[in-house]
């Protein structure tokens, strides 16, 4: 594929501090990765590891302490707030979230160069075996991919079927732990990481 990568995360850092006079660092997320082509990528990691923070930084709803998020070559954090959803959309459970960390007035920011979102981030989509909607959801992810979009799925698997869904649909993985990211091109590669195996536990064999 020619042109800039769909998602290019450069030196992205988010630091949370507590305290006023002598602030203590409570959490630090660091990310650096590039995804050039359309695809479906799974994000896994324990609660509190920084998955949702990462999503917020990619959609522009949270402001990075340092670094850039480039979506098709355009820095998400320099785009007008109401147009940021033309670069990346954050889906939480069954609805979409639009919330932005506003600092500069919109007039100082750029127009989005895309008319529709290129990156779709699904935060804990509700996969239920009871109602039969999983098939439609997976087809929707595939349809987005076929239209040249990047789909990022954040799942916190509790059951074997959720791991099977990931293995069926994902072409790559990002494992997040303690604010650090590790990429794996396949589920097998993911399992070479002892931390990922420890996180998945019995589900590693699913």
């Amino acid at each position: 594929m020619t042109g800039p990568p769909i998602l290019d995360v450069r030196g992205l850092t988010k630091v949370y501090r507590r305290g006023w006079l002598s602030p203590q660092e409570t959490f630090r997320l660091e990310a650096e990765f590039t995804i050039a082509d359309p695809g479906v990528v799974g994000v896994l990691g324990p609660n509190g590891s920084g998955k949702t923070t990462l999503f917020e930084l990619i959609t522009g709803s949270n402001r990075p302490s340092a670094g850039q998020v480039l979506c098709c070559g355009q820095d998400v954090h320099r785009v007008k707030y109401r147009e940021r959803d033309r670069l990346a959309i954050h889906y939480h459970q069954s609805y979409q979230v639009r919330r932005f960390a506003k600092r500069l007035p919109s007039a100082c920011l750029q127009r989005a160069r895309s008319d529709f979102p290129m990156v779709h981030l699904f935060d804990e989509p509700q996969f239920s075996t009871q109602d039969g909607y999983i098939g439609f959801m997976l087809d929707f992810f595939r349809a987005l991919r076929a239209r040249g979009r990047l789909v990022i799925l954040c799942v916190h698997p509790n059951e074997a079927f959720q791991v099977r869904i990931l293995r069926e649909i994902c072409e790559g993985y990002i494992f997040v732990k303690d604010g650090r990211l590790r990429r794996a091109p396949s589920f097998e590669a993911l399992l070479e990481d002892p931390a990922a195996v420890a996180y998945l536990g019995a589900l590693a064999k699913a």
């Binding site: 609805y95 979409q96 639009r98 919330r99 439609f136 069926e168």
Partner: protein, 247 residues
């Protein structure tokens, strides 16, 4: 041309986007289904279609006319009727009285307190006919509160029909019904489909698959799939193959 259409509807509440670029078309004489997981935006979609909420963007048309942003009663007067997911019957009224107050000429009869509908023989005759359409002719004199649950749901549908609608929207009609109630409701809808254009919201796929001519699947505020039950069933591999296995 479709009897009822929605074009590029957008709706958000605060920072939640509940409808994004939703387009739908309901054909005259057909049963259309809208299904999706809980909380996916189905009821909001109905509320926007029937005027309870105004869309932020987009257009709703009925019979070729733009009805976007009209008040719900104005939309209802044009022949768009709906039931609600939560029951909205007058409990202390009899089944017949519930229908009577919903008849257009009784509603128009102003100057009387609404709890004393002075219904003439003609209106009573029509109300009985509406009750008969949902199989409640034997329950005319029973207070709504005393009806079994399944019959209350049928009475709700009858109230929607009393307005002599050209299109009827039913919001989760199977809510709270057991297997037998569902089967009866399904038979009732099969009867009604010859007389009315119907749009049904359902969470339960099986129910719609057996009834609808076309189904739209809504999730994340978008139409994520659309087609005939046959075409959708082919996609709904999960039930047949089990999750995670490709057929």
């Amino acid at each position: 041309m479709s009897l009822f259409t929605a074009e590029h509807l957008h709706k958000r509440f605060g920072d939640q986007v509940v409808l994004e670029d939703v387009s739908l078309a309901f054909e005259s004489g057909a049963v259309s289904g809208i299904m999706g997981p809980n909380g996916a935006g189905k009821s909001t979609c109905f509320n926007v279609l029937t005027g309870l909420h105004r869309p932020d963007r987009g257009r709703v048309t009925f019979d070729g006319e733009d009805i976007t942003g009209l008040a719900p009663d104005e939309i209802a007067r044009r022949g768009v009727s709906r039931s609600f997911q939560i029951m909205t019957l007058f409990d202390e009224f009899t089944a017949l009285e519930n229908i009577l107050v919903a008849l257009p000429e009784v509603r128009r009869g102003l100057g009387r307190p609404f709890w004393q509908p002075r219904a003439d023989a003609e209106a009573i005759e029509e109300a009985r006919e509406v009750l008969a359409q949902v199989g409640l002719e034997g329950r005319a004199g029973t207070p709504a509160a005393a009806l079994p649950y399944g019959e209350r749901r049928a009475l709700e549908i009858a109230v929607a029909l009393a307005a002599r609608p050209r299109i009827v929207f039913l919001d989760e009609p199977t809510q709270g019904l057991g297997t037998e109630g569902r089967a009866r409701l399904s038979a009732l809808i099969r009867e009604l489909r010859h007389r009315y254009t119907l749009v049904i919201i359902e969470h339960d796929m099986g129910f719609l698959f057996g009834l609808a001519d076309r189904i739209s699947v809504i999730h994340w505020g978008q139409v994520i799939a659309e087609g005939t039950p046959g075409a959708l069933r082919a996609k709904d591999r999960v039930r047949a193959a089990g999750p995670g296995r490709t057929p």
